[in-house]
């Protein structure tokens, strides 16, 4: 027995395991505080599996068993099965179009009886493995645009499918695969161009096309004026200015209005505009019949609900103060003021009960966790492991950053979980697998995996 344990634990990065366990248990405590009622009998609720915290405890036990299994497997299994598992993942997502169950407005769940499985969630693992596999293949030259396109296709295929299902939050998570790709040599120009596009899009949502066209023209003229000597020497600069100017103008003046009028549905457009805090300027032209108007009303209600969520979330966190109100003493948590508090808004109970001390410590733990993953990534000999590690870091980072930013009012409401803390079997399972596969790969870091 002892010797077997030794083989399992050989090379394991224990700090990772401890961080993992600590955060999950802290999460369960927070879920308990959300559900706590003075009349509850602790033992009864614990054994009854009626309460979320006891269910989460059960999920945790299941995940622990799964983690041991992962540690017992051979690392080569992951490289060998990465392609096929990715394929299965995609198929599962496709399956939801047929057998999917609608939960909270997105038809992206497969009912399994004891739990509901969200394939897009699970597919993060498969995509991470598939991307690692592709990038670690000796014949892949990531400098070539072809390889870049294939890598992007692998990364974003589940995302596109997810958007089709109406699950935008998780779809955005797949952007985190840009981090491993960047690490493996994706030209920063792409990221800069992408970022500029995003800025352009936001700007075009915020301001009227006319104003922007005038602004762009003025900027272009100023550029021309200040660079006129260089332009005399190098005509190419003039060309760049003209191209950028005309692209921006066309994008703002034609592409954006066209897309919002003809491609997006009313509620989608509304939602996008509400993210930047503006009313949909194309709304009037789109409402043609009653059903659409009705739908708009529902979506508007949803926006109001989201604003309410964020307000309540900020109140709960802000009222915690430096030391917090104390465990089970949070008035906002006790009064059910924050909707979805056990899932996406679990951080509010940390903020209220444990104050800045608690929430700051939790944030610090997550940062340590991420830095640890990067350290692990950089000590890998095989590209596969490194890419995979960066994928895990990216996904974790995206989840944590977006979730926390939503709760503290720095980002629009995007429904994604706080890793390891939020209630939910799917999320906990996914992150357990992601992390323990990484731990296993790291344990075998002397091996070169292909």
């Amino acid at each position: 027995m002892y010797s077997k344990n030794l083989t399992i634990s050989k090379g394991i990065d224990w700090p990772m395991v401890w961080l993992y366990a600590f955060i999950v248990i802290f999460g369960i405590i927070c879920i308990y505080s959300v559900e706590y009622k003075t009349t509850d009998n602790f033992i009864q609720t614990l054994v009854g599996f009626k309460k979320n915290y006891s269910k989460q405890l059960f999920f945790f036990a299941a995940c622990a068993v799964l983690a041991i299994f992962i540690l017992l497997t051979d690392s080569k299994l992951f490289t060998a099965t990465s392609n096929i598992s990715y394929l299965i993942g995609i198929l599962l997502i496709l399956a939801t179009f047929i057998v999917g169950k609608e939960i909270k407005g997105s038809k992206s769940w497969i009912p399994l009886g004891f739990m509901n499985l969200q394939p897009v969630e699970l597919c993060k693992i498969f995509t991470a493995l598939a991307l690692s596999k592709y990038l670690s293949m000796p014949e892949t030259d990531f400098k070539k645009p072809k390889s870049q396109i294939i890598a992007a296709a692998i990364s974003f295929a589940p995302s596109v499918l997810s958007i089709l299902q109406g699950e935008t939050g998780l779809a955005l998570v797949y952007f985190s695969f840009l981090i491993p790709m960047y690490r493996e040599g994706l030209p920063p120009g792409y990221l800069i161009a992408g970022a500029s596009m995003a800025v352009l899009l936001v700007v075009s949502l915020l301001f009227e096309a006319k104003t922007l066209l005038i602004a762009f023209t003025i900027i272009a003229i100023l550029f021309f004026y200040f660079n006129r000597r260089r332009i005399k020497r190098n005509k190419q600069i003039l060309l760049i200015i003209v191209v950028v100017w005309s692209f921006s103008s066309i994008f703002v003046g034609a592409i954006v209005p066209y897309t919002f009028k003809n491609v997006f549905k009313q509620y989608q457009a509304d939602r996008i505009f509400s993210m930047v805090g503006v009313d949909n300027p194309f709304a009037d032209e789109i409402i043609s019949d009653m059903s659409v108007a009705e739908e708009q009303k529902i979506k508007q209600k949803k926006t109001e609900q989201q604003n309410y969520n964020v307000k309540q979330s900020k109140i709960a966190i802000g009222s915690g103060g430096f030391f917090g109100k104390g465990f089970l003493k949070g008035t906002q948590t006790r009064g059910d003021f924050v909707p979805e508090q056990h899932t996406d808004f679990i951080f509010t109970s940390v903020g209220e009960n444990f104050g800045f001390l608690g929430s700051g410590l939790l944030m610090f733990l997550y940062l340590i966790f991420l830095l640890r993953i990067i350290r692990i990534a950089e000590r890998q000999r095989s590209t596969f492991s490194r890419v995979y590690a960066y994928s895990v870091a990216g996904i974790m980072f995206f989840h944590v950053a977006v979730n926390i930013c939503v709760t503290i009012g720095l980002a629009p409401v995007i429904g994604i979980t706080l890793p390891l803390m939020s209630y939910g079997g799917s999320s906990l399972l996914t992150f357990t697998i992601l992390i323990f596969v990484l731990i296993k790969l790291d344990a075998d870091r002397q091996m070169v995996l292909r």
Partner: protein, 710 residues
């Protein structure tokens, strides 16, 4: 390949760390620097429930409880839970129809949402309460009873003494004295309830409760760690004799006026009637606002506490004081006589002051027969007293006496809205007539208690106490002692004797003798009570309403028994016509008899009956009442309250609440300023108009001074 990109690790680390720094900064901002969220959280997450203690009980001089608390019930409804209840039964019991029922439910839902309790019908009558209790099983769980404590008046008398409770409004909240009150709390608005608010209220308790997102109470905050218990208000013992008070109110039925009776030894007020009065319980209970509006609008002004707020010309009752001044200043002696040949001609023959009886009077008889000429002469001698260098200084000396008698300033009694009355000063006279341009002739009317002088009933009663005590008084007051002591130091000023002028007893003996004669064989014979030596003085007061002469006010004041005075009393019956001896004196007689003998002799009960039935309300009140009645039928109470306020402010009449009083005073002053300006304009036109005869001029110029009751 990867080796070349190793530096990118640092970029990624930078991005990660940067993001977390942003999050940290926002957390610091939210949790450490913004207090807004804590306030928001407290507002929505906790509920500060105020526990109201029972207000203190008030006892009369014989230990009877005259102001206490009773429990009444409100029917509460939770609209979300009434689906299966028997609406028909409920409507039957409450005597409402289905539309009214629906209206109430809807307004309950609007006010408090459907899952919280709202009042369905407040302050149920005993009958409805009994019926509802029988049927409550049919109505549960949507309906339930909630008890509430209200004021109860076992003797149904003394509304003007006790005052009433009202809801705290924004005006009260502005006053720093009432810190800690919130909108909707009940607070003493006038009377004892207001003066002794701090004593009667007790200490409110606070319970901190937890509230959920639907505003339901879920439990106590930290098991009641921050809660404080309510402490009941303290009981108070007053000098009131509630039976005498009730008798006084009965005698004053259908009359306008006031009776004030004071115990001269202690200054304790035995009875204080202001008529018309109202049933104090009208201003508790469900219909409070409606009743309040009706009372406020009544032209007879039942909410106006005449005993302390109405200033009348004291009339001939004032002569007793002039006798004291004259004797003490030695301008007359007890044997000094004045003969009246029909009128006082000391100021020329322009408009002489008539005397009631012809003949020659010494002081005692002058008091007995209330001889005008005698006291005009006394006043003449006081003002032209060679002892003092000028008219101004001798008038100032006279003023000192009046102040010592408790006139011309607020006494400081313990019900609000006391008026100071008026004692003219040299400054006033110089202002009215021009500096030095007046002489004692302008004073003739003052000498007989008309003209520029005015007093309140409480001041007159106190003046009687002063004479009865032979030279001292204690500020009249209602409350003698407070249970567990006078913690707010409200009573100390009611313990000290005021005896500013050291007038010898011999002078008082003469004046008291004259007053005894008034009752025994003079103008006040109507006050006579067999077996009791009563000293008194009648008064018949000319008065004007909006410049039109009205029937005279009847005054009578006095004290008894002469040797060991136990009661000093004053009574005024407004616009009764005839003389003070006709209407006021018998009422005083009955009051004294009741107080001293504890009962009224069988033979005299007929007089009680007679006065109870006697209606002396002037006809103008009835005509005004009619116009108000037609208004009452038209509009709802809220409108009437607003309208009532506007009306009162317009007329510049004193209200029963001091704050409002001050506002009204200001309005009045402004009005007067405008008038003065107009007068100054007229001055330049003709100087003659400014200096008419004393009596007429003052009456026309300042009707407010003469009489605030119109």
């Amino acid at each position: 390949m990867s080796v070349f990109n190793q530096s990118r690790k640092n970029v990624i680390l930078l991005v990660f760390t940067g993001m977390f720094v942003v999050i940290f900064l926002q957390l610091i901002n939210l949790q450490i620097f913004s207090s807004k969220y804590k306030v928001d959280a407290d507002n929505q997450g906790t509920f500060r429930k105020v526990i109201y203690p029972d207000r203190g009980i008030v006892f009369d001089r014989k230990g009877r409880s005259i102001l206490q608390n009773t429990v009444i019930y409100d029917l509460m409804v939770i609209p979300g839970k009434i689906k299966d209840t028997d609406t028909a039964t409920l409507c039957n019991i409450l005597d409402i129809d289905l539309t009214e029922f629906n209206k109430r439910i809807i307004s309950a839902i609007i006010k408090n949402k459907s899952y919280r309790a709202s009042i369905f019908e407040s302050m149920l009558s005993n009958e409805k309460m009994a019926k509802l209790n029988e049927n409550l099983y049919k109505l549960a769980p949507g309906y339930f009873m909630q008890e509430r404590s209200v004021r109860d008046y076992p003797y149904d008398a003394g509304g003007n003494i006790f005052g009433y409770l009202g809801e705290v409004d924004s005006n009260i909240l502005k006053n720093p004295i009432y810190e800690g009150y919130v909108m909707g709390d009940y607070i003493g608005r006038t009377g004892l309830e207001k003066t002794y608010e701090k004593v009667l209220m007790g200490q409110r308790g606070i319970e901190f409760l937890l509230r959920d997102n639907k505003n339901r109470i879920t439990g106590q905050l930290e098991d009641g760690k921050f809660d404080t218990a309510a402490i009941a208000g303290k009981n108070m013992y007053t000098s009131i004799d509630i039976e005498l008070q009730a008798l006084g109110e009965k005698l004053m039925q259908n009359k306008l006026g006031s009776i004030v009776a004071v115990d001269p030894k202690t200054g304790g007020i035995i009875a204080m009637i202001s008529s018309p009065t109202y049933q104090p319980k009208l201003l508790t209970g469900a219909e409070r606002k409606k009743h309040y509006a009706a009372l406020l609008l009544s032209p007879a002004r039942p909410l106006f506490n005449r005993s302390v707020s109405a200033s009348y010309s004291p009339g001939s009752t004032f002569k007793t004081l002039q006798a004291l001044v004259g004797l003490h200043e030695k301008v007359i002696t007890t044997s000094f006589t004045v003969s009246c040949s029909g009128a006082f001609y000391g100021c020329g023959s322009g408009k002489p002051m008539r005397c009631l009886d012809f003949g020659t009077f010494d002081l005692r008889n002058a008091i007995r027969m209330s001889d005008n000429t005698y006291f005009a002469t006394v006043m003449q001698r006081v003002i032209t007293n060679p002892k003092y260098p000028s008219q101004d200084s001798s008038l100032a000396v006279w003023d000192r006496y009046m102040y010592a008698f408790g006139l011309g300033h607020r006494l400081g009694i313990d019900v609000p809205s006391e008026r100071p009355g008026n004692i003219p000063t040299p400054k006033d006279f110089n202002k009215i007539y021009g500096k030095g341009a007046w002489n004692y002739c302008n004073f003739r009317s003052v000498s007989i208690g008309q003209g520029e002088v005015s007093t309140t009933p409480i001041q007159t009663a106190n003046e009687m106490a002063y004479i009865a005590n032979k030279g001292w008084y204690i500020i009249p007051h209602l409350v003698d002692s407070i249970e567990e002591g006078d913690k707010f130091n409200l009573l100390s000023k009611y313990k000290e004797k005021h005896s500013a002028m050291d007038i010898p007893d011999s002078i008082f003996d003469v004046v008291q003798g004259g007053m005894q004669d008034v009752v025994d064989k003079g103008t006040g014979a109507g006050a006579k009570v067999p077996g009791i030596v009563i000293c008194g003085k009648t008064g018949t007061v000319e008065n004007y309403y909006r410049g039109i002469k009205q029937p005279n006010h009847a005054f009578f004041c006095g004290f008894a028994p002469r040797d060991n005075p136990k009661i000093a009393i004053m009574c005024v019956v407004e616009n009764s016509g005839r003389f003070g001896g006709t209407y006021a004196a018998p009422i005083v007689g009955l009051m004294i008899e009741k107080y001293l003998n504890d009962t009224i002799a069988k033979s005299r009960e007929a007089i009680v009956e007679k006065f109870t039935k006697l209606n002396l309300i002037p006809p103008r009140i009835y005509s005004e009442m009619k116009s108000v009645d037609s208004l009452l039928h038209k509009k709802d109470s809220a409108y009437l309250i607003a309208k009532g306020y506007i009306k009162l402010i317009r007329e510049g009449i004193e209200m029963d609440v001091t704050d409002e009083q001050e506002i009204l005073d200001q309005i009045k002053k402004e009005k007067e300023n405008v008038k003065k300006k107009q007068q100054q304009k007229q001055n330049s036109d003709s100087k003659l108009k400014v200096k008419p005869e004393a009596i007429l001029s003052t009456e026309k110029k300042k009707p407010e001074l003469k009489d605030s009751i119109r």
